[in-house]
């Protein structure tokens, strides 16, 4: 997958700023590379590199208890790692915003990505996460803004699934 260098990640970053995000945890993905760079360059955001995605769910719970807003960036394969940890924020009604770049879902090359890619939405919804799939680049940032409001205004776990079709798009201009 090509590294995303411009376009929607800058708009997503602006939405995270507008939402008052202070902690950004991530397991890297090429689709998130530009957004991670923008967050790392922002002195008002603390970026935390994780060894596995469920660490980010727990980090976000602690951040909220301490008064910080947090976002977790990961690839769809990492969603499988988060499921049991999601029980805590969901049962506590602690907000959790997750931005998930999809694999195994559109024009995939690696067949091993399919089981988790095809199961991402069902897995998240099975434990009570609100899920917003996006397939057009122009829809990504507004959906992230809406998801942040859903998470922080209503105390829910919310995931935006950024489709491979959107990540791979080359001709989108804002």
């Amino acid at each position: 997958m090509a590294e995303v260098t411009s376009g929607w990640p800058d708009d997503v970053y602006a939405e995270l700023v507008a939402a008052g995000i202070r902690q950004v945890s991530y397991v890297p993905d090429a689709g998130h590379s530009r957004l991670i760079q923008r967050c790392q360059a922002d002195p008002s955001m603390r970026t935390v590199s994780l060894t596995t995605e469920e660490e980010g769910v727990a980090l976000g719970l602690g951040a909220w208890l301490g008064g910080d807003r947090h976002v977790l960036l990961m690839q769809s394969s990492g969603v499988g790692n988060t499921i049991n940890m999601l029980a805590a924020p969901i049962e506590m009604r602690v907000p959790l915003l997750m931005l998930v770049t999809m694999r195994g879902e559109w024009a995939e090359f690696n067949p091993w990505q399919l089981p988790m890619g095809q199961g991402t939405r069902a897995a998240l919804e099975s434990v009570g996460t609100l899920v917003y799939p996006v397939h057009q680049p122009a829809d990504i940032a507004p959906t992230v803004g809406a998801a942040a409001q859903m998470a922080f205004n209503t105390g829910r776990a919310v995931a935006v699934l950024i489709g491979q079709r959107a990540i791979g798009a080359k001709n989108w201009n804002k």
Binding site: R22, Q23, R46, V48, S49, L50, T51, T52, E54, E55, G56, V57, A58, L59, G60, L61, G62, A63, W64, L65, G66, G67, D68, H70, N84, M85, L86, A87, A88, E91, M92, R93, V94, G155
Partner: protein, 212 residues
């Protein structure tokens, strides 16, 4: 590799008096528990709105404490968890070692057993060394307590500034059962009210003052 809980000639340490001693000197520290016995231990030492009683997400206690420590750099954060819970989140020691939050203290009550599920042995009873792992992950302070004489140094590490990891070998006997509240939204709101104040934890909107 040894599996001794403590030197053969010394009695095993009892967990509750040690946790009582740590929490008696907590000051305004924020406390995150592990699942099961450490959750009950912390409640047994005295309820406090700044206790986060953890009922789900095994392996996450250290990272909850890390997020809290990063959000509240001016407050000490104590994570009091067990060996089984810590073993499930070993990667978090690597993450915390990289972040180095100076106000975070991880205390593992290591009884070498999964007490909740029927006293099955954990890896720490078979030679796995949590203190060595923490040290290798970059914890500047990492100390082990096996006998009473080693406890004051651990207390000092818990109270001094700087990221610290303490593992205390304790008797696996289950202390008398105490159960804290289980209502997640209540635990959350009580904690945030006490730490952040109700105006932040539960913002309200009042009518704007009339223009004269």
């Amino acid at each position: 590799m040894t599996s001794a809980t403590s030197p053969a000639d010394a009695p095993a340490l009892l967990r509750r008096p040690l946790i009582d001693a740590i929490l008696a000197r907590r000051g305004d520290a924020l406390v995150v528990t592990g699942l099961g016995t450490t959750c009950y231990d912390v409640f047994s030492a005295g309820d406090n709105p700044l206790n986060f009683y953890n009922w789900a997400g095994m392996g996450g206690a250290a990272m909850v404490a890390c997020g809290l420590a990063l959000a509240q750099p001016g407050r000490r954060v104590l994570c009091i968890t067990g060996d089984g819970e810590m073993l499930m989140g070993l990667g978090s020691l690597a993450t915390i070692g990289c972040e180095q939050p100076p106000n975070l203290k991880i205390v593992v009550m290591d009884n070498e057993h999964y007490v909740e599920t029927g006293m099955q042995g954990t890896h720490t009873g078979r030679g796995v060394d949590l203190v060595g792992i923490a040290r290798a992950c970059g914890f500047p302070q990492a100390c082990r307590v096996s006998v009473t004489e080693e406890f004051p140094a651990a207390l000092a590490a818990i109270e001094a500034p700087g990221l610290a990891f303490v593992a205390i070998k304790v008797d696996p006997a289950q202390p008398p059962m105490t159960l804290p509240m289980r209502d997640g939204p209540y635990i959350r709101s009580r904690f945030r009210d006490a730490l952040l104040g109700p105006a932040v934890a539960h913002p309200v909107m009042m009518p704007a003052a009339k223009q004269s």
